[in-house]
């Protein structure tokens, strides 16, 4: 319950406080407490399998993503301290707007926590819609032309998508009409429990609309169009949260529905076709758009689309291994990608440009960030021994386990092409290149940020080789819940 109240309190407080120092401190402090309480709940869930009182409900699925949210949120808060100070120093933003920033940030955090920890799908929908509303101004925070444009596209497209998703929710409700009494309408646990007795034709319709709707928010092609703009225009900590966290929580809604639908239909074929198609399409889009990308934040955004595609692909296969891989991939992707966005933020502040062609000698100029960025790129492109590879290989294996060799080939080749694209476009920035203008003086600007980045690098390079047993059990339980095994 603390999880819900705390951020709200924080938001209230932010409203009152003027002093920036205290604002920083408070935000870090609250998010830290959130992390701690999240961990407590995690232990409960590991022990008991699920943890709920009236509306509040977390089980293994949600706790995984919830923890990601809390941790990334915390790190983003820590990072923001240094980042915003820099921005203020360079008059990118006025000191006064700090308050707005933190208010929005924590509202955003709250809505996501809410979305991930309620039992009722309707409220989940509301919360996810609310995430859009909360983050719109964060996307448009810089208040210049591109930022406004990105924000507008973001809110319009996502709202429409969410609306479609609501249509799906209605049908979900409709399919349960008669089997469920009015007190527990849209209660996920009940729906899941009684999945067998729901009306499958309507459920299919429901799934379609929910997939399209939340798929929009999760940035699956062809509804992904808002994503590159929003990610590239938002302040870097926000980009990190968008792609590391927001996409996951949208994907989480899809997972919940998927579990019900597949349990009801008894086969994953209907859902699988759509999700695999969308997944491959997203990866293909990303591949095409990465090969000749000029802007590194946009490039990272497209890579997020790619990884969402991989997750959707894994869920679509719906074998135990692939679902496990997909969930695991969520973790790896969030950690790696937010790390990349944070370091991209440092680079942006150092060089003052988002154009790849204008950056060089990164490894010398920003030793920590640069190194982290290079490793992170290898990681995100799926090179062993990083975490992303470990989860991707699970997905890949499960494709071939299913005997769908052609699809598997396409999948692997697309991933390889994306690696090539990243290599072609981005590797040049790390080394000295006399043809480009001389880099700015060396030295890390944002100390907190660098610390966070280093931490994340350490984590992602471990996750590829070793996984704590607790996480393993969590993932397993989640997997079992989803595939009903």
């Amino acid at each position: 319950m603390l999880l819900w109240i705390l951020p709200l309190m924080a938001v209230m407080l932010f409203g009152a406080i003027k002093n920036n120092k205290i604002l920083h401190g408070l935000s870090v402090f609250t998010s830290a407490i959130l992390v701690v309480s999240g961990l407590i709940i995690t232990l409960k869930v590991i022990a008991e399998g699920s943890y709920e009182f009236n509306l509040f409900y977390v089980d293994s699925i949600s706790i995984i993503i919830l923890d990601i949210v809390l941790i990334i949120g915390f790190l983003a808060c820590v990072y923001s301290v240094g980042y915003l100070e820099e921005e203020i120093k360079h008059e990118k933003i006025l000191p006064g707007r700090l308050r707005l920033y933190y208010i929005l940030l924590h509202t955003f955090l709250f809505t996501m926590i809410l979305a991930l920890s309620v039992k009722n799908m309707g409220i989940m929908w509301i919360a996810i819609e609310a995430t859009t509303l909360a983050s719109t101004f964060l996307v448009g925070f810089y208040n210049d032309k591109p930022a406004i444009e990105a924000a507008w596209k973001y809110i319009i497209i996502c709202s429409v998508g969410i609306a479609i998703a609501f249509l799906g929710i209605i049908f979900l409700h409709l399919s349960s009409a008669g089997t469920i009494d009015s007190t527990q309408i849209l209660d996920w646990t009940v729906l899941y429990g009684k999945a067998g007795s729901l009306k499958s034709p309507i459920l299919r319709l429901a799934f379609i609309f929910i997939f399209i709707g939340f798929g929009t928010k999760a940035g699956l092609a062809p509804m992904h169009t808002w994503l590159p703009d929003a990610h590239s225009q938002a302040p870097s900590p926000i980009s990190a949260m968008l792609s590391g966290v927001l996409l996951n929580s949208a994907m989480y809604a899809i997972i919940r529905t998927l579990a019900i639908v597949n349990k009801n239909l008894g086969t994953s074929e209907f859902t699988g076709n759509i999700m695999i198609a969308a997944g491959l399409l997203s990866i293909a889009f990303a591949a095409v758009f990465i090969i000749t990308q000029k802007d590194y934040k946009t490039l990272l955004a497209y890579s997020s689309i790619e990884h969402m595609g991989i997750i959707a692909f894994g869920l679509g296969l719906f074998t135990p291994l692939s679902v496990f891989g997909a969930l695991f991939h969520m973790i790896n992707h969030s950690l790696t990608k937010s790390m990349l966005f944070l370091s991209a933020g440092n680079i942006l502040q150092k060089y003052g440009t988002r154009e790849i062609a204008k950056i060089n000698d990164l490894l010398k100029t920003l030793p920590v960030t640069g190194g982290a960025f290079l490793l992170g790129l290898f990681a995100i492109a799926g090179t062993p021994p990083f975490g992303v590879f470990a989860s991707e290989i699970n997905v890949i294996i499960s494709v071939f386990e299913k005997g769908q060799i052609i699809i598997g080939m396409i999948f692997i080749l697309l991933l390889a092409i994306i690696f090539a694209g990243i290599g072609v476009t981005l590797f040049s920035i790390f080394y000295k290149n006399s043809s480009v203008e001389t880099p700015p003086p060396r030295g890390e600007g944002n100390i907190y940020g660098s610390a966070v980045i280093l931490l994340l690098v350490g984590v992602i390079s471990i996750t590829g080789l070793y996984m704590p047993v607790s996480i393993f059990t969590l993932l397993n339980n989640a997997r079992n819940i989803i595939i009903g095994g």
């Binding site: 319009i156 095409v288 758009f289 062993p384 021994p385 071939f400 072609v424």
Partner: protein, 677 residues
């Protein structure tokens, strides 16, 4: 049992070396020396262990068994004879290379992060050991990728040079694409056998998919091996790396591909169709020829060596191809012989190419240039290095009494045994192979005549050459010991062949070693394959005796030796200067003209001054280009870039209405799907 410990010690030492390099990285000299000495120690253990494993008749040894909690990730290292043969090659190379590094890296002191370099260096070695010992496909793939990434970092280590960066990017991309194909192959294996183990039953895979897997693996490994036409990264990447690393890359890293082909195609899949062998043989032939021709016209010493690596990998593939064909036509002895020959050639290539790259490194170290047209007359400045490079050149040109010759001879003998009346197509192919080998051998000799002659003989062509710095003793010692090894193997090949035949036996199950009459230091017992006999040793004896005799005779007839120093004949002009002698470009001109179609040479002659007969100055520029880059790779790249650009502009126009249309279409499509499915 002891073998296991030996291997573990060696691996442990490599790890320690890596860490010590980082820890001590404050003090460059100390960290460099320490880590390299540790590497040397490790390699000694590695040599001991692998030889022990080879001669002891025991089966595979399990070194380590680590199960990660991540599903399907278990890291089990096993060593059988094949692995240990490759580890042997690796360790034999690592010892001198590390010794060399002690001296060579001294020019990094204070300039670059030597600690980082040495860490990468030992991780690179470790990753190769992992590749050789991985016991399931996933682990193999991981090790493979680590190897690629680390070597990428080593290639771009001197990143301020523009072409190094481009080389590195090209390299990592090519090798990653190859690895992707490889992964597909592994996965297809898995989808039928449901196991990643290397000893799982490949009979479950249907015929069609075997062929697919074969093709995928050949392309995947071929990319790493740098066979034509997948070779384009190699001549850029190998020269770009620091010389000790290029020695490792050229000497052993490209052999990992050979290992992969043995491991996955010969042992795992087993050879069924004749066309597999034919494909490999053709690849080998084309690599050998094209590689050597490009090597001949190259003027950059390290690029020249890189191209010659392509040639030699081609020769190794030729051996493999003969072996494949022989297996598929049920001709075990020939198969075993051919395999032995190609393994032996791989072994030799590791040694002499290693020494040559170290030598090239020494040249660069002392003259700071890799361009032959800047060099010349170095034999007076750095005589010892010159001697060793001469040795290496003789050996790579397959000349008696060096080991290169034995390798060529074995391959020719296997072809000789392979040609039998009957199957006409194969016979024609084999005789063409002989042709290719002959041409390649002759051109290789020419290449290294150019390499040695232009670089070391004649007059210095620039201040680089005339002001060459002396070379540290360790560096000379390093390349020297390799050359010595070449000579020893060349003169007493028998024991080494015995050693290698253990590895070959494990693959083909036929031991040809018994056909080799020949034992340790006995000259009377020459090396003989099915009645065909050579004895390098006795011909060497004749050699020396005849020199001795002729010296005596001359002394007897001609009396005491008297000589007079005088200038070279300069056609009566006053004084011969370095611009009058043949340049590297000029030297290779005839061959360049003969193989015109491979280079598309373009020349332009600038004459300043009004009178064309007595111009003030003339400038003659001759440029060549690789047809592969021009006609295969560049068009593909251009097409990809253009199409991607077009698609981007068409799809992501920025118009929100278009985006809404996408969503609309998606919804309609989904509803339709729901209706129809």
């Amino acid at each position: 049992m002891t073998i296991k410990y030996l291997f573990q010690i060696s691996i442990g030492l490599y790890v320690i070396a890596g860490f010590s390099a980082v820890i001590l990285s404050k003090w460059h000299k100390i960290s460099n020396t320490a880590s390299n000495i540790l590497c040397m120690a490790a390699s000694v253990f590695g040599i001991a262990a692998s030889i022990d494993q080879l001669i002891s008749a025991q089966g595979p040894v399990i070194l380590w068994k680590i199960n990660s909690s991540i599903p399907l990730m278990n890291f089990t290292m096993t060593v059988d004879n094949v692995s240990s043969f490759f580890i042997l090659m690796l360790s034999i190379l690592v010892f001198p290379v590390s010794l060399y590094s002690i001296g060579y890296l001294s020019h990094y002191y204070g300039k670059r992060n030597v600690g980082l370099f040495n860490t990468l260096y030992s991780v690179f070695i470790l990753s190769m050991i992992l590749v050789f010992t991985a016991s399931n496909t996933i682990f193999f793939f991981i090790a493979w990728e680590i190897m690629s990434v680390v070597s990428y970092f080593l290639v771009v280590f001197e990143s301020e040079v523009e072409e190094n960066r481009r080389a590195g990017t090209l390299y990592i991309i090519m090798t990653h694409l190859g690895a992707a194909l490889m992964l597909i192959g592994f996965m297809i294996m898995y989808s039928f056998t449901n196991s990643f183990a290397l000893n799982s039953d490949s009979a479950l895979i249907p015929e069609f998919y075997r062929n697919i897997i074969f093709l995928l693996l050949v392309i995947g490994f071929g990319t790493k091996a740098g066979v034509v036409p997948l070779h384009i990264w190699l001549p850029y990447a190998h020269p770009a790396a620091p010389s000790n690393v290029s020695a490792l890359m050229s000497g052993i890293m490209i052999k990992t591909a050979v290992y992969g082909i043995l491991r996955f195609i010969m042992i795992y899949l087993g050879v069924q169709n004749t066309w597999w062998g034919i494909l490999i043989l053709v690849i080998g032939i084309s690599s050998a020829l094209i590689g050597v021709v490009y090597a001949f016209v190259e003027n950059n010493i390290k690029k020249l060596l890189a191209f010659s690596s392509i040639e030699n990998i081609g020769i190794i593939f030729i051996g493999l191809g003969i072996c494949f064909i022989a297996i598929s036509t049920k001709n075990e002895t020939v198969a075993a012989l051919a395999l032995l020959a190609s393994l032996f050639h791989a072994f030799n290539h590791t040694i002499f190419k290693g020494s040559l790259f170290l030598g090239a490194g020494s040249i660069h170290f002392s003259t700071h240039t890799k361009d032959m047209d800047q060099l010349g007359g170095l034999i007076k400045k750095i005589p010892i290095a010159a001697l060793f490079i001469l040795g290496g050149s003789l050996s790579i040109s397959a000349l008696v009494p060096f080991n290169g010759f034995i390798g060529e001879w074995l391959i020719l003998q296997s072809i000789f045994a392979g040609i039998q009346p009957g199957n006409a197509g194969i016979n024609i192919l084999f005789i063409l192979t002989v042709t290719a080998l002959a041409l390649a051998g002759a051109l290789a000799a020419g290449t290294f005549i150019k390499f040695f002659g232009i670089t070391f003989l004649g007059l210095p062509r620039s201040s680089h050459a005339s002001e060459a710095q002396p070379i540290p003793m360790v560096m000379n010692a390093a390349s020297g010991m390799l050359v010595l090894l070449c000579l020893v193997i060349g003169i007493f090949p028998a024991p080494f062949i015995q050693l290698i035949s253990h590895a070959a036996f494990e693959i083909t199950g036929v031991s040809v070693a018994v056909n080799f009459k020949g034992s340790f230091l006995l000259t009377a017992f020459p090396l003989s394959v099915s009645g065909n006999v050579i004895s390098p040793f006795s011909s060497l004896i004749i050699f020396l005796l005849s020199i001795l005799a002729v010296l005596l005779i001359i002394r007897f007839i001609g009396g005491k030796y008297a000589e007079k120093k005088y200038g070279t004949w300069d056609c009566g002009f006053e004084g011969l200067n370095s611009r009058m002698q043949y340049t590297a470009t000029g030297f290779s001109k005839p061959v360049k003209i003969v193989f015109r179609m491979l280079f598309r040479p373009s020349r332009d002659l600038k004459i300043t001054g009004d009178d064309t007969y007595h111009p003030e100055s003339m400038e003659y520029i001759m440029t060549t280009e690789s047809i592969f880059e021009k006609y295969i790779y560049d068009p593909v790249l251009k097409f990809t870039e253009r199409s991607s650009g077009v698609i981007r502009r068409k799809l992501q126009t920025g118009s929100i209405h278009l985006y809404l249309i996408y969503m609309f279409a998606a919804i309609l499509a989904a509803m339709l799907y729901n209706r129809l499915f």
